[in-house]
Every structure is written in C-alpha cells, then in structure tokens.
C-alpha cells in the first residue's frame, strides 16, 4: 500500500535539532532517547544539539513541542538521510 513518496509520517528517521540554550543530558530519556550535547562558547549564547533516530513523526513532534515548552528557541531541524 505504500507508494514511494519519500518520508512518511509513520516511518522512522534520523534528525539533528539545534536549540538555543542549555539542556541537561538527562533529558534524553524524555526526548525520544536522542543524544544531547551542549556547546558553551565564551562569547556566544549557548547552543544544544539533539540528534538521533526517532521512531516516527509523532515522536519528532513530541521532541519539538517539549523543547518549546522548555523555552528553548529552535535554531534548526535537519533530516539526516540514513546511511
């Protein structure tokens, strides 16, 4: 039933998300199991990068909404082609 239309709502995919601010790595469990890395450079505002495979779009939206509710502005969301 599936047509080859590229990414669908219910297939898993890898994403890299960058937000402004610091996020503790312990949040990984609550954010789809992505890996979390914070970058604190002296002059610029801190940036956190979340990356990993998400089971479907519902999981991705969960992460994005949670970041918004945590007050972290979105800098980028990048779909990563599976290797």
């Amino acid at each position: 039933m599936r047509h080859n239309k590229g990414l669908a709502l219910d297939t898993s995919a890898s994403y890299e998300i960058c937000v402004q601010g610091n996020l503790d790595a312990s949040w990984s469990d609550r954010l789809g199991g992505v890996s979390i890395q914070s970058n604190n450079c002296a002059d610029t505002a801190p940036v956190t990068m979340l990356s990993g495979s998400l089971i479907d779009q519902a999981a991705l939206m969960g992460v994005l909404n949670a970041l918004y509710d945590l007050g972290m502005p979105l800098l980028s969301v990048q779909y990563l082609e599976k290797p």
Binding site: M1, R2, H3, L9, D10, T11, W27, S28, D29, R30, L31, G32, G33, I55, D56, Q57, A58, A59, L60, M61, G62, V63, N65, A66, D69, L70
Partner: protein, 911 residues
C-alpha cells in the same frame, strides 16, 4: 468529602465517561490483543496523528475487557496541576470510590505541596489499592488518559515523570496522544516496560478497510472506488469515514472520489466541504455555530444557535448526528453531553471563521457564556466571555458567583477563576481585588492584605460606584481592615471596623460575616471586656440558623481562642467538643482538625497527657487536611506531650517533621517557630551544643502579635536564655520578660500572663530576689487556679517545684499550690541539695550552734524532750530552751515544721 465537591458533577461525568463506540466500528483484533498483552506493564503509549482512531480503539478494547478500567478525557482547561490531579483522582474513584483520600486532601489544602510529595503520596495510595481492594494477584487496573497532548504544563509532566520512575504495581497507565510526551519513555522502552501502538500499526489494512466499507455503506461499492479510497487515505480512518460518509450521502460520488487530492489533509478539507454541502442547511448552520463549544448539550446548543422549533432542536440534531456517524460522540450514558471529533471540530471552526464575521462569532460566545453562567458552569462561562471579548461579562460572572463559592470554601476553584482573567482587568475591578485579598486571608498572608485595601480604596475614590454596591464593597473592606488591626493589637480600630462591617455586610455573605463576628468579638477581648466578648459570641452563633453552612467555624475558632486566652480550660473543652460535633455534622474536615487541636490544648494544660496525645496526634496524622497553622501547632503540642512523658526520640521526630513541612511549604513563620522549639527541646534533653545556634535567629525587634496559639516561641527564647544562665543572657531574659508582660497585660491575655509571671519568678529567684519571686509566683498561681492550669508550672521543672514549695510555706498562700505540687512527678518534688539553697537559707543553717544542731537531729528522730535530755545529758529545761531557739532561728512554730525545714536544708543525718 466526595470527588465532585468543587466541580459541577455533570461536567466531571463527561470527562470520565468512556466515549461510546461508533456503529461503523471495525473490531481490530490484532491491536486489541496487543493492548491486552501490554496490561502487565506500567505504561502503554498510543501515539499517532489526529484521526487515526486511537480513542475508538481504546474504547472498543475496554468495552470488551473484563478488567477494571477508568477513563479521563483531557482538554485545554486541565492545564494546572491541581485541576489535572483532581480529575485523575476522580477517574480512579470511578473504580475505587474511596481511593486516594490523602491526595485528595492535599489538593484541597490551603497550599499545594511540592510535585515530588504529591507523586509520592499518590503512588503509595495507588499501590495500596492493590492490597485493600483485592485486585486479583498481580493484576493492574487500567487508567486511560485520552488526548494527553493537550497537557503542556511542566508541573504535570514532572508529576507523571516522578510517577513513572517508581510506578505503582497496581496501575497500568495508557496515554493516548498525538505526539510523544516528555516522559521517560525511552528507558521504559529499552527495559521492555512499555507497550506501544503507533501510527503505522493504526493504519487500516486492506482487509480492515473492506470490512469498514461493508459495514458503513449499505450498497455494494465499486472495487475501483474502493482501491482509490484506499490509496488516497492510506488507511487513515478519518479519511475513510469521510469518504464513506460522502458516498452514503451521495452515492454518485465516483467522480468526486476520483478527484480526491493526493494529500490526506486536503482530502479531508475537501470531503468535509462536500459532506457539509450535502447536509440540510439548518444542520450546516447548527454545526458551524456549535463548533465554538468544547462540550455540547441540547439546551446549550439551542442557546447558541437560537433554535426554537419544536420537534427539531439541539437535542434532536445531536442524536441524529451520532446516529449518522457524523463525527459526534456522546459523553455520558444519559445522552445529555456530546462532543465533536477534534479534527471535525477544527475544520468546522475554520469554516465558521470564513463564513461568519468576527462580531457574529463573538455573539455566539456571548450566548454560550450567558447560558453557562446561568447554569452554574462558571469556568466555561468565563472562557466564553473572554472569547467574546466581553470583559464586563467576565467580571460580572465572577462577582455573581464568588460569594457562593466562598461560603462553600471552594478556594482553589476561586483561585483558578482569577487566573483566567487578565491581570490588567483584575487591577481595575474592586470585587476581583477583594477576591484576591480573601484568598490571601485564607492563606494567612495577612501582611500582604493592606496594599490591596489601599488599591481598592483608590479605585472607589476614583469612580464611586452606585449603591448598594458601594456599601457592600465597603463592608468587605471594613472586615479585612478589622482583621489587619487585630494583628497589630490595635483594639480600638479592630472594634471600630468590625462593628461597622457587621452593620453592613449582607447576610448572603456568610463567609465574610463569620470573619466580621470573629474580629468583633476578638476586639472586645483585646480591650478586656470579657463579658462583652461572650455576649458577642453568643449573638454570632445565634446567626447560624440563617446560614447553615461553614459560617460558624470561624466564630467557634475565635471562641476557642478566647477561652484559651482567658485560661478557661473547661470552657475550652466544652466549646471544642461542640465544634467537633458541628464539624462532623457538616462534613468539614479542616474544622474537625481545629476542634481536636483546641481540645488537646485544654487537655495538656490540665495535665491529661493521654487525652492531649490522642487529640494532637489526630491533628498531626491528617497533616494536609488541617490548615498549616493547626498542623504545626498541633505538632508542637504533640512534641511537648512526648517530652513530658519522657519519649524524647518521638518528640524529636515530630519536630523534625514540622521543620520539613515548613521548608517544603516555604512557610518561614512555621520554620522559625519549629527551629526555636527544636533548640529548646535539645536543652531539655540535656544536649547543650544544639541549643546554641538559635541565639542568632532571635529577632529582637519584631513586634509582638496576639498570643493565641498553643506554643508561643518568645517563651522558648526566655527559657533558652535562662538555661544559658550567664549574666548577659539573664539580663536579656529580664528585658524580654518585661516586654512580654507589658504586652500580655495590654492585650488582657491571662493565659500567657501566667507564663510570664512564672518565668519572672524563676528569674528573680535565680538572681536572689526571693520575695519578688514569691510575689510573682503567687500572682501566677492565683490566675491559674480558676481554669485549673497545671502544666505551665510542671514544665518548668524542679526549680519551679522548689519555689512553689517555699510559696506554700508562707502564710496566706493559695491552696492551689499544694495541688500543683502534687501533680509534679515524685522525682521532681523538692529535695533541695545544699548547693541550690538560697543565700538566706544558708545563713540560717550557720546560725545554729553545734548543740542546737544535735537537738535538732534528735527532734527529727522523734525523741521526746525527756529522751533528748537523757541522751545529751542535759536538763529538760535546757532542751526546751534549745528547742525554742531552734524554732526561732528556723522561723517555725512546732517540731514538725522544724523537722521539715531541717530535712529541706539537708542537714539531717541518716539513721
């Protein structure tokens, strides 16, 4: 207290009702079996976009399932932790009616405890459901939270995170949501503790689509059409239903279906437009207009649409929509409440916005608001009024409803209403500012109130409201002012404002009248007009026949305080008992705690330790039901009882729990009192070191407030200073005592004047001023006698016993002294060591000659004068002479007294 206490019961029911399954439902065995298998896990997550069929699946599953299950439909209004948890507990109670009492009490306490506390308490209570209610071994009961994506509040997420980190074994939680919630799902999944159904699984398979179409469409469908529907919708059930609906309404839809746009979303929009157009015009209008409502009922819809035709009203239309599967679900078993499918509703709303003007939509909201307000759905009324942009209506709704809610003590609900209103609006309306002030009063944040009163006064001065509104506002302000003045011990102003309030507060404002009476009577007490006070209380209680609600609780609290202040312990016991009866009759848990606390106070001072322990531990045991004040004072009472009984460890444990409570609830006053108590307790238990740091905490310049409680920390400070026993500390104690004395006298506080005088006596005695000490003690005893106060003296230990003993020897000493002394434990009764003798006493001993000493020894051995003469080889007359001298020097009249004094002085040799 029942679950539906603060929220209208029919609204609760709609949220707890498992939505009925639609007729076109296809039973999806594979998914139901998967849900079954997940039942022994803590959590199942059903996460998929709108319209995937989550709700129907879960409803179908539970309908056939033999196990116990509960349902909670969430919406945007549940965005606060206390509201969310209230519904959570209410849902559990549909299965276990009396469950989670402690959590429930916590939610309705004056201050909400922290998230970890709530999670821990609820987790325990859910866990115990397994044991108490005989869930079959190892089985969990199921709780479904539908539309969980509506929850965005961090406190709620944190709560569930805590709960899921230590999940109770008796609960299987199911979250149905459009996107994954920020809960510890990844780790649960990794440990195999997570059941999961996602979009991929929810897609209808070809077989399921065929079954669905067959069920829905009565005539056979062209296989080509079927294939196209399948292709376009990709098994998305909402799409399927729209397609089916469109085919049912107009069987000649071949062309239409073939023109379905490729994307789900646009297909939906397109089909909806088509479906709508095919419906009767009146029905279309109905759907659009009622799309503003979260929940629909026949009468509410009629109010919004203005429908008035007999035989075709809101109720009929709603039933028809359900029957025809037009995306409408019933929310209860009586057919009273319904809602639209979310996607359907959001599309209707966008159609509404396209076809109607903004003003027309605002008018719809206004009609909804009016109906909700008239029918008691206050929160909905406010929400609609805000949507209508009608701020006046918002204010009017709250103003109309607030006193009813205040009289029923629905404080958290009132707080909730206020938060729906923009700050700017609250600041402009006297009634709303007053409501905020009342909420502060309820929380005992008295110091924050005056600024509100000033703002209100300013508003009224700026735009004077018409009568009778103006007088009513003034009457509430007066009540709050009298409260403020009472706490600054300004008797005159307290009485002035309270009296004026009583003349003008309307009878319907039961809550306010209760307070006005309370401070009116208390003002009289401050003045020392005790009979006036009692008359006032009697008048106040007579008024209860009008109110018959929580009105008398405040009056009775004040009356108990009055008995306490006047050291009338039997009066206190009597009133406390009366209070307890009333509390149980009217189901007022917080009042019951107050009554027991007061009864405990009386019992303790009467030296009925068992009784006091009983009452105080009841208060402490229900710590979140009781007001924070009652709990902390009850705990001080309990610790005092334990200490008096020698149960030091338990006393310490109780105090530690108060310290924890004070930190947890951020209550600085409780924390300060508890730390002072702890320091005093340490000195009582012989630990010097712990007692020291407290000195730094003492706020020497803080103004004194009326002493109405069981434990007043100022006295602990005096005792600690006395215990230190340095010249500097004694000087400071003296200073503090004289301040306390002046205050107690000025406020006519007999109860604590007794403490002041007793401590004064000890202090004077320690510094060698015996006569002054005895005088002060005499005054204290005289004041204590009518009420039967004992423990003030007993708690001051052997030094007090000794001083009392000396008082008792004096001519004209009150009889009561003996009674107090008898109450002392034998070990504490006076057996003074020579080291503790006062200077004068020591002198006495020194004036006795050796011979006189010998005679005294023999007198003590009960020898007759003759026998003494024989023993000492002296004449009878000489013995008599010696004896007379001895009596003279010791200041006694006979042999018995002489022997007694000698015994006290410790000069009698054994044998």
């Amino acid at each position: 207290m029942t679950a539906s206490d603060s929220i209208p019961s029919n609204l609760i029911q709609t949220k707890l009702y498992r939505p009925s399954i639609s007729r076109d439902l296809v039973h999806r065995a594979r998914l139901v079996e998967q849900l079954d298998r997940g039942c022994e896990l803590p959590l199942t997550l059903v996460s998929a976009p709108a319209g995937s069929g989550k709700t129907m699946l879960l409803s179908d599953w539970l309908g056939a399932y033999p196990r116990r299950s509960a349902w909670l439909s969430l919406d945007g209004g549940d965005s606060e932790l206390s509201v969310f948890l209230s519904y959570f507990v209410a849902a559990i109670r549909t299965v276990f009616p009396l469950a989670c009492e402690q959590t429930w009490a916590l939610l309705h306490a004056a201050e909400l405890p922290s998230v970890p506390t709530l999670a821990s308490v609820l987790s325990n209570e859910i866990g115990s459901l397994g044991e108490d209610h005989a869930l079959p071994a190892g089985q969990r009961f199921i709780l479904v939270l539908d539309d969980y994506h509506m929850v965005r509040n961090q406190a709620i997420q944190q709560f569930l995170t805590d709960l899921l980190r230590h999940p109770p074994l008796s609960l299987h939680l199911v979250l149905s949501t459009r996107q994954d919630p920020p809960l510890p799902i990844a780790s649960l999944r990794a440990r195999g503790q997570l059941g999961e159904i996602r979009m991929e699984a929810l897609r209808f398979t070809s077989d399921e689509i065929a079954a669905f179409m067959q069920r829905t469409i009565e005539f056979p469908v062209d296989p080509e059409i079927m294939a196209r529907v399948e292709e376009r919708t990709e098994g998305w059930i909402v799409g399927l239903r729209l397609a089916a609906l469109s085919l049912v309404i107009d069987s000649d839809s071949n062309r239409r279906i073939s023109q379905l746009p490729a994307d789900n979303r646009y297909a939906m929009d397109y089909l909806l437009g088509e479906v709508l157009l095919r419906l009767p015009r009146a029905t279309q209008t109905f759907l659009l207009k009622t799309s503003i409502l979260d929940r629909l009922s026949g009468p509410l819809c009629d109010a919004v649409t203005g429908l008035d035709a007999p035989g075709w009203n809101g109720q009929c239309i709603l039933e028809w929509l359900v029957e025809k599967n037009v995306f409408t679900m019933s929310l209860d078993s009586q057919g009273q409440w319904y809602r639209y499918h979310h996607l359907f509703r959001s599309l209707l709303r966008s159609q509404l916005a396209r076809r109607f003007s903004a003003q027309a939509i605002a008018d719809l909201h206004a009609s909804a608001s009016a109906w909700c307000g008239q029918n008691g759905f206050v929160e909905d009324a406010i929400v609609h009024a805000l949507a209508a942009g009608d701020e006046t209506a918002v204010v009017e709704i709250i103003e109309a409803q607030r006193h009813v809610a205040m009289n029923q003590e629905r404080w958290s609900e009132l707080d909730h209403w206020l938060r729906l209103v923009p700050r700017r609006l609250v600041d402009e309306r006297p009634e709303l500012l007053l409501l905020e002030a009342w909420i502060l009063q309820q929380r005992w944040r008295f110091a924050d109130i005056p600024q509100y009163l000033d703002s209100i006064d300013a508003l009224i001065a700026q735009t004077p409201p018409p009568e009778p509104r103006r007088t009513r506002l003034r009457s509430e302000i007066d009540t709050l002012r009298s409260l403020h003045y009472y706490y600054t011990s300004d008797e005159e102003q307290t009485s002035f404002f309270a009296r004026r309030a009583l003349q003008t507060v309307p009878m319907e404002y039961s809550s306010v009248r209760g307070l006005a009476w309370m401070y009116y009577a208390s003002g009289l007490q401050l003045r020392g007009d005790f009979s006036g006070t009692q008359i006032a209380f009697a008048e106040a209680l007579k008024e209860d026949s009008f109110h018959r609600n929580s009105f008398p609780t405040r009056v009775l609290i004040a009356l108990c305080v009055f008995h306490w202040i006047t050291a009338d312990l039997s009066g206190l016991t009597q009133t406390a008992n009366r209070f307890l009866v009333l509390a149980s009759e009217r189901n007022l848990a917080e009042s019951a705690a107050w009554a027991r606390y007061f009864r405990g106070c009386a019992a303790y001072q009467l030296n009925d330790l068992a009784g006091a322990e009983n009452d105080f531990s009841a208060v402490v045991g229900r710590r979140y039901v009781a007001h924070s004040h009652t709990f902390s004072q009850g705990a001080f009472g309990l610790a005092t009882v334990y200490q008096a009984q020698g149960r030091s460890d338990q006393a310490r444990a109780v105090i530690e729990s108060v310290v924890a409570y004070g930190s947890e609830t951020n209550n600085t006053r409780v924390l300060a009192d508890a730390q002072m108590f702890r320091a005093w307790l340490a000195t009582q238990q012989g630990q010097q070191a712990e007692g020291q740091p407290w000195v730094a905490w003492v706020n020497r310049t803080a103004p004194l407030t009326p002493m109405t409680t069981f434990y007043v920390s100022s006295f602990a400070v005096v005792k600690l200073l006395l215990h230190q026993a340095t010249p500097a500390s004694l000087r400071e104690a003296l200073g503090l005592l004289s301040r306390l004395r002046a205050f107690a006298e000025a406020t006519h506080n007999t109860r604590f004047l007794i403490d002041v005088l007793a401590l004064q006596a000890l202090l004077d005695d320690a510094q060698g001023r015996e006569q002054a000490a005895l005088l002060a003690l005499q005054q204290a005893v005289t004041l204590a006698q009518p009420g039967g106060i004992l423990r003030v003296f007993l708690d001051l230990g052997p030094n007090m016993a000794d001083l009392l003993d000396r008082l008792g020897r004096q001519k004209g000493a009150p009889d009561y002294v003996e009674q107090i002394l008898q109450a002392f434990p034998v070990a504490s009764r006076p057996h003074p060591s020579p080291a503790r003798l006062s200077g004068r006493r020591r002198d006495l001993v020194e004036t006795l000659t050796n011979r006189e000493m010998e005679v005294l020894q023999l007198l003590a051995r009960r020898l007759s004068a003759k026998e003494i003469a024989q023993q000492l080889v002296i004449s009878d007359r000489t013995v008599k002479r010696h004896t007379a001298n001895i009596y003279g020097k010791l200041g006694v009249n006979d042999r018995r007294q002489a022997v007694r004094v000698a015994g006290d002085l410790g000069i009698l040799r054994p044998g």
